[in-house]
């Protein structure tokens, strides 16, 4: 099923975003009100890989709505989110030939790439594959994302556990192991 969100692909100067990766707004990784929010996007058909992603806090209102994420081979995640409503806002990346790209997700609409966090926990936004969408010469570029079944939530959590040193030494390690165990039942 193609999740055609009519998203805009823009080439943009990304200097302002460069320092946002993994931004936790000064929160402690072990803060009990934190949630881990993560997802995956396969960018093999995109002009660039993903080197950063931003999650926008849409509720409650805040002066700083954008949360940076860590990104590893298409897996994007943050473990600092307090309760609230969030949406995947942008992906960005660059390549030698393609230059810098920012992939904007539409502001309107709930759905898979959004999360309402009422209780702290682990929230999976899903795994997706980038699909290019043809547009006219002077139109803004567009793309779609298609939900895919692999990698699974458990595989991605396992990857997180194995590759993120900070998680290993935090309260998240046990929570993730428990979640993987539940998913594998």
């Amino acid at each position: 099923m193609i999740n055609r969100l009519g998203m805009l692909l823009l080439v943009a100067a990304l200097a302002a975003l460069a320092g946002c990766a993994g931004g936790g707004h000064g929160r402690d990784i072990n803060d009990p009100s934190n949630s881990l929010v993560f997802g995956f996007v396969d960018m093999s058909d995109a002009p660039t890989k993903v080197s950063g992603a931003q999650i926008m806090q849409v509720a409650p209102p805040t002066e700083k709505p954008y949360w940076g994420t860590d990104v590893k081979n298409g897996l994007f995640y943050t473990y600092y989110l307090p309760p609230g409503s969030y949406r995947l806002a942008t992906l960005h990346g660059s390549s030698f030939l393609g230059g810098e790209h920012q992939y904007n997700f539409p502001r309107q609409g709930g759905g898979d790439t959004t999360a309402r966090i009422e209780k702290p926990g682990i929230y999976f936004l899903g795994a997706y594959k980038y699909k290019p969408v043809r547009t006219g010469m002077f139109q803004q570029g567009k793309f779609a994302i298609e939900r895919v079944s692999t990698p699974s939530e458990a595989e991605l959590l396992q990857r997180l556990l194995e590759t993120d040193g900070e998680i290993k030494g935090s309260v998240w390690a046990d929570k993730i192991r428990q979640r993987i165990a539940r998913l594998k039942k």
Binding site: L10, R107, G110, T114, F138
Partner: protein, 200 residues
């Protein structure tokens, strides 16, 4: 690659061009004397529940047009579905409704339709983001009318701008008082609330 670079460079210009080239909206009216014989003033309001919060709308840089807290009601005398992404021509004759305030706009004294609403959430930066609102409402103006009250079109939404409910409220008393203050006593403001019609 070249195309991407070109689009990037042109993006702010395209926003300006879009705004500058868009056909004019329905003109606000200050005096009934300026109405033509076959014209009517439409009186109504658009509300968003909850209202826009600080930071939900971002207007950056030099933008031609009035976007702040405004919903563009796309209108036509013919009922038709709006394209997923409205074309510039679809903006012709729009009502630029300041959300939460009564509008008084000049219109032809014939039936017309609200095809949908557009709210610009992000404009003037490197991206343009809009929220779309359902239409399918008839404005029952008719020849001979001079002023028609169409009601308050109230869109209930969640934090992701999903529309959860639409109501048409009758705030005639308030609108009538504003109408009288604006145009004087003795003018008839006929009540003809928006009605839902089936989209073709």
């Amino acid at each position: 690659m070249i195309r991407s670079g070109l689009v990037s460079a042109l993006a702010p210009l395209l926003v300006l061009t879009l705004a500058a080239c868009a056909p004019p909206p329905r003109a606000p009216l200050t005096s009934l004397d300026s109405l033509g014989r076959e014209e009517v003033v439409l009186v109504g309001k658009v509300e968003l529940v909850p209202a826009l919060r600080k930071g939900e709308q971002k207007i950056r840089g030099m933008v031609v047009g009035d976007f702040e807290n405004r919903m563009y009601l796309m209108m036509d005398e013919k009922l038709r579905p709006l394209p997923e992404e409205p074309r510039i021509a679809d903006y012709a004759g729009r009502i630029e409704a300041l959300i939460g305030s009564t509008f008084f706009v000049r219109s032809k004294a014939v039936a017309s339709y609200v095809l949908g609403g557009v709210l610009f959430l992000d404009i003037g930066g490197s991206s343009q983001q809009k929220a779309y609102f359902p239409g399918g409402f008839q404005v029952a103006a008719k020849p001979g009318d001079r002023a028609v009250y169409i009601g308050t079109l109230r869109y209930h939404r969640d934090e992701f701008f999903e529309i959860t409910r639409i109501t048409i409220a009758d705030d005639y008393r308030e609108a009538s008082a504003q109408f009288e203050a604006k145009f004087g006593k003795g003018q008839i403001l006929r009540k003809a609330l928006l009605t839902r019609v089936k989209q073709p």
